[in-house]
Symmetry: D2
Subunit: 296 residues, 4 copies
Amino acid sequence: MASSKKKLQGLVAATITPMTEHGEINFSVIGQYVDYLVEEQGVKNVFVNGTTGEGLSLSVSERRRVAEEWVTKGRNKLDQVVIHVGALSLKESQELAQHAAEIGADGIAVIAPFFLKPWNKVRAEEVLDGIQEKIPTFQGLKFSDTDLLDFGQCVDQNRQRQFAFLFGVDEQLLSALVMGATGAVGSVCCFLFSTYNYLGKKTNQMLEAFEKKDFSSALNHQFCIQRFINFVVKLGFGVSQTKAIMTLVSGIPMGPPRLPLQKASREFTDNAEAKLKSLDFLSFNDLKEGNLEACS
Amino acid sequence: MASSKKKLQGLVAATITPMTEHGEINFSVIGQYVDYLVEEQGVKNVFVNGTTGEGLSLSVSERRRVAEEWVTKGRNKLDQVVIHVGALSLKESQELAQHAAEIGADGIAVIAPFFLKPWNKVRAEEVLDGIQEKIPTFQGLKFSDTDLLDFGQCVDQNRQRQFAFLFGVDEQLLSALVMGATGAVGSVCCFLFSTYNYLGKKTNQMLEAFEKKDFSSALNHQFCIQRFINFVVKLGFGVSQTKAIMTLVSGIPMGPPRLPLQKASREFTDNAEAKLKSLDFLSFNDLKEGNLEACS
Amino acid sequence: MASSKKKLQGLVAATITPMTEHGEINFSVIGQYVDYLVEEQGVKNVFVNGTTGEGLSLSVSERRRVAEEWVTKGRNKLDQVVIHVGALSLKESQELAQHAAEIGADGIAVIAPFFLKPWNKVRAEEVLDGIQEKIPTFQGLKFSDTDLLDFGQCVDQNRQRQFAFLFGVDEQLLSALVMGATGAVGSVCCFLFSTYNYLGKKTNQMLEAFEKKDFSSALNHQFCIQRFINFVVKLGFGVSQTKAIMTLVSGIPMGPPRLPLQKASREFTDNAEAKLKSLDFLSFNDLKEGNLEACS
Amino acid sequence: MASSKKKLQGLVAATITPMTEHGEINFSVIGQYVDYLVEEQGVKNVFVNGTTGEGLSLSVSERRRVAEEWVTKGRNKLDQVVIHVGALSLKESQELAQHAAEIGADGIAVIAPFFLKPWNKVRAEEVLDGIQEKIPTFQGLKFSDTDLLDFGQCVDQNRQRQFAFLFGVDEQLLSALVMGATGAVGSVCCFLFSTYNYLGKKTNQMLEAFEKKDFSSALNHQFCIQRFINFVVKLGFGVSQTKAIMTLVSGIPMGPPRLPLQKASREFTDNAEAKLKSLDFLSFNDLKEGNLEACS
């Protein structure tokens, strides 16, 4: 790994993998995507080839090339490029980890095995117990569950260490900040998508208010974000819908998802666009007087 | 209902129903129980005949008598006595609600139907929509889930109203306070027991720290509570174990649970007692120097 | 209990509780209901106050009166009247069992506790182990799950005894007959309704074919029943829908369900009626030539 | 695909992938494995690289080599070699399917997508609707669920076609035979292992008895198989344990599983061996008089 001095903190966007209409990876827009995250959303960390990025729908060679592109285009712009290297086959996972190190990624991440599982459910608290002895380069944890007992005890029992405790349930990030979270990797609990690609700016405002102990403002920002998530979750939300919204908000063509996922419907996109406008999340919205719902 | 001026806020203890060794209700200790909650734990609201109180294992006539006893003994001592009147039979539920009103209870509560259910899962947010038109005396909500998106949107959409938003997941109450909770009814998510019977004092300290924006102290108190809950949950925790711990901490004999529940094991009680001591939650504990885990 | 010589075998209908439009029990049609089951469907055993009968939505006093009516009206017509006496409160369950004995019911049944549960899932096989020592009058088991490993081992380990092994998943009764089932209590797995109220005749034809080792005919009958169940399950089926269909087929007014259930929609009833006609399950259907789907 | 005249029927063993102590594939024993299945168990069809074979824990290149070995060693001995080509990445799945065709496998199979899923649960009945138009070479279905309504309707609606309906819940195969199953791919519902590797002979006896309409014998054989499965399931059973038992019964070293799975414990193997002996499933067992449990 690159001997990065930049600590992993703040928002981390789980990146979308842009595709052409034929389902091939569209490498040409990744540079533009980097600029958009940094300049428009204030997000300087990315998590590549995760669920939002359809990482497990890509072949191993495709995953290598996507990782390379993010590392190359992110150089001197992004703080951290973390590559997800989880795979059902441990051998392939090891190969991807080796590759991430070779290309100079700032870190790797893996999800726990989910097909052939060992017997018992494992709590994050137990995983962290003694982990520095086993993985000296361990940097931190992405926690994507609403079980704040488990999360809180992770923080409580590892206070001496400089771990990053990244929370992964966007719609209640504020509740984890008060429990000791040091940052966030975008995703919505039980629904696989990351909002920091397009709500990064608003979320950063919440982080700043929290930092200043201005809880009333922080809560207002959180409620605004919840209004949007609450709305789209009811419409049926996932990776496909995230691609459609990101295309809409950023203007960068993210393309359709790869099978087995289906493209988001026109109806969904129209509804989501109207909601984004009513909440004033689209910059080209002329905020009308008397729009009670508007968040800015 | 009694025209109560006292608003429902702060901690609400879901009461245990004390029983004799033969499984009959031990009415004689309820007065002592009231005094213990008020004087030792600083808890002035109770939720009677709920899950913690084995309400659904009692016959209808037993439920009436338990409700009467709490109203009588709580007079001039408790702020609010709320009676749970939920039953599988709507007729019985109506009868219990009528009775609660007659004896001067401060409020009633019902759980949603759980055996013969209507088709779709209902979100709390939807239930609250227009509820004052349907139930003019509606006072508030007990929310016992970790889905803080749903909880947050309940608060967000009902700011104008004076509803009580009581959170019911003890181990992460702090995360709900920051989301706008106005109080708490004790219980632990997915595990049916209430800790405010014996951790009320510690929880009140957390509420006070939060009120003063002393988040560091609030978090310390929350972590202390989590350490205890985290410990007992792993041992297997429920109503039976709550009865055993409450007997231990308060000195009031709560007796065994009624069938189908089984009495807590001796091993459980010994382990829980040792943990309570190490966390300094038992008043008769001589805090030893160097006890790193102690919470006070 | 009445010292019944009639063994519990063959089909058992889980009875509907007829109600008026206002949700009060309509006792006046129970006599007619008995005659319909015996004369039109060939069903001579009933299971009263179960899930199909909304037993847990009735008050204790209502349950007593319903039980009395079935015992009275069924005298000299039905073989066995079994009363479901399960309740969340063990005390009420005991009271109902005592009452069933006093009025001369042929048997009682209880469902396992489902609200405050003991810790581990219990397999039927383990329940039966040594049950005659604990319950000398134990007659048999209603098994409503598709786990035929558990069911098979119940039969395998109790061959010496004269237990009734009643299967409770109507849509695959044939698969349980080959595994040793001795009869059937109507219900559909995961969907709470009983088809023997109106498909009893067709099911009896399947039992007869199986008895004669005419597997081809038995399978044809089973497939016919499956076609109907498969159709209504997709429409959304439950107690409400069962009441509507039974009203349609028998001409006896079963009324709406009690809250929290909602009345079946007109659309459902129309669709179900059309399907019943196409399958020739309605006696007043003029079977048209060339109706390939028709089952008779 | 090889233009196979041999129809897919009877038992299909989901093969184990033999490994060395270091977790590398032990290709050298596959020839011996083929002979054992054919000669000792009477099983002439195999399903390679499925769950039992840890297919998803192998790299793509390993999966290709395992497939080649089974096709080569099975030539003129096995009736059908079916290769599982399912993968999270559709691209890799297509590559594996192409490869299977090139090496002359008799068929391929895929599991439904299980990580990034399309929205609704799909029933097998719906999948089969019109499948011959979409996949002209479609041969049949492996059905591994206890929902015999769905299974029955698959058979009912496709009677005109020559599909293979292979049932995949070993412990209740008899119940599916009566519903129209034409064969079986070994596995146990909710537990990932295949018993036909070592109980093929006994299962074939059940099939023969069923064919002769000797239901009493067929049921005896089924109960015997259930006694074994019932026993091991309680001990905790899976791919690791299947490897251990197969090593024990066949004498062929199957090795440990690959991570994330853990090797079966010594205690498990001892218990399973004792049970196999008591049921007379091990050929080297001297059947003692008075062994009431023995199955032969």
